[in-house]
Symmetry: C2
Subunit: 128 residues, 2 copies
């Protein structure tokens, strides 16, 4: 892969994001550094980086999100505040183990997404 300033910035944005941004959010941020960057370039680079395994695509059903971490594949999506929380990897280890040992499949990729109301929103709701 040949170097490009655009790809470097896109990668930086994903790596510095805590909030699993959409392609569009990444585009917005990238334009602050490179005002002429195009949305097509953002998509092309996100796909390249995801294919290379440097970043990761998460499908929530409503939109695609991008994630820096390759190790945290367990997410919780709060439908109230719309945030996506990384969940401890340790919780998923046993599940994965069972699927490989007991079912005999080879797992190359896991996408675990729980949806509901996060702890913080639940606490706010109590105050209502």
């Amino acid at each position: 892969m040949k170097y490009s300033k655009q790809r470097e910035i896109i990668l930086q944005i994903v790596q510095n994001s805590m909030d699993h941004p959409t392609a569009d959010k990444i585009y917005e941020k990238a334009r602050m550094e490179l005002p002429n960057i195009s949305l097509g370039t953002v998509y092309r680079n996100l796909n390249q980086l995801a294919e290379a395994g440097t970043i990761r695509k998460i499908s929530t059903g409503t939109s695609d999100r991008f994630d820096k971490t390759l190790k945290d594949h367990c997410h919780f999506h709060c439908t109230k505040c719309e945030k996506i929380i990384d969940l401890p990897v340790v919780y998923v280890a046993q599940l994965k183990e069972d699927l490989m040992r007991k079912e005999g499949h080879k797992i190359e990729y896991e996408e675990i997404l729980f949806t509901g109301i996060c702890k913080e929103c639940l606490e706010e709701r109590k105050e209502d």
Copy 2:
């Protein structure tokens, strides 16, 4: 919800499918019974049925799939033969339990998708 022949057939198709079809595949099948049915109607009904909890939408990242079972939320997607296998619910129970008890979130929906090579494809590969 008012009865309609279209919805009945769409529901039947999803319930009789073992392969978690896309909206388009469901449309194709529905046209065999009702040649004039429109794709819009298929989408509308699939969304209604999913919202009502009768069927379920699964996002694989490449496309949305529909699923009849409300209890089996754990899927394995084989990238070789492209099939989606339901996985035993029991495996996910502990994971869910941990997330609710230890993290304090309220889980309303879970989407668990493992991707890789299924047992059958692994066995075929050995014979190559």
